[in-house]
Subunit: 176 residues, 2 copies
DNA sequence: AATTTAGGTTGCGAATCACTACCTACTGAA
DNA sequence: TTCAGTAGGTAGTGATTCGCAACCTAAATT
């Protein structure tokens, strides 16, 4: 490896990580450029020099980030058949599964930061209409706002499949 | 302000930012600790010392990050009525709107990193059942996989509300 | 008045980022 | 089969950020 990871800096997350997978998800995707590289991948960028040009990222940082994304199983390397000097960086299943997260973040940015729809747009192949907003839904598909939600302890849920779990509710999500 | 932002370091994103709001969304949320602070906020952490203890973050970094989150309009400061030394950091509407993104990332982590459900769990208040998986849906609510999706240019969509926009399809999302 | 508490700032060493220049394996052409 | 070119990566260096510890100030408690 180029330079060994310095885990010291990342330790404080460990405690929470035991009970929540968000920190683990952020381990790789929380780094600068990771989401932008992912975006490029979804947009059909496969080669080192393409990423370099599209993103305006430094060579060593790109190299580093691609290595990490491959190590995390989000991208995979594959030699290019046309030109065996080339390496293709392709999304794995795990990488493809980040699409909802990326779209959610992008939609949030559209709504609150830029105010205008991004380009290119993700559309349904069937009718070429833009996808709907990413939202939180109940098990039966009803869209839920944060007024309809509350947090519960996992241990209480296992034994409270039907109801009578009222006392296990930690807290309602406070209205703004 | 404590120290002026050095925009030089962040410039390369500007070009893409003109056509996509993802980089803008990452401006604040892409920084280390931002999502973890957000998570704590959703879990009912409001005060400086609480964040400090829960996250194991350094004081100055927390101070810095909270300031940035307030500047971005994701959190808001409010003096505490009980104890006027205390300041409450509360999610704004903009902050609450990041819940789908955060849950999507967490669910991804559950599926691919930890393998086990996180704690606490977000449940429907009506029946106390866990929420469903965050997914991409068509305008009519159908769940779409990446096989059902393609990217289109925004300009082509505006004039292609019904169909006959075949030639404007940029590219299907490649199957893994 | 003295002490504690909440929130924050400052200084400093370590780690990371980004820019530039170099390096190397492979390709394609002469 | 040499030789220039290209894709991908490495090394060096300065700027920026992170994390730890110590200090600071205003409000609250004793």
């Amino acid at each position: 490896m180029t330079h060994a990871p310095h885990d010291k800096l990342r330790e404080p997350l460990a405690e929470i990580a035991a009970t929540c997978s968000l920190p683990q998800a952020l381990e790789t995707m929380g780094e600068r450029w990771s989401f932008m590289i992912l975006r490029a991948s979804f947009n059909g960028v496969y080669h080192f020099e393409e990423f370099l040009e599209q993103l305006g990222i430094a060579r060593n940082i790109l190299s580093n980030r691609l290595t990490r994304l491959v190590e995390s199983g989000i991208l995979k390397r594959a030699p290019c058949v046309d030109d065996r000097r080339k390496i293709e960086y392709r999304l794995t299943d795990k990488g493809h599964d980040l699409l909802p997260t990326m779209i959610a973040l992008r939609q949030w940015g559209e709504k609150w930061e830029s105010g205008v729809p991004s380009n290119p747009v993700l559309v349904d192949e069937r009718d070429h209409r833009p996808i709907g907003p990413i939202s939180i839904r109940a098990h039966d598909g009803r869209v839920l706002t944060h007024h309809d939600l509350c947090w519960m302890n996992l241990s209480d849920i296992a034994t409270a499949d039907s109801e009578e779990a009222d006392n296990s509710v930690i807290k309602r999500i406070a209205a703004v």
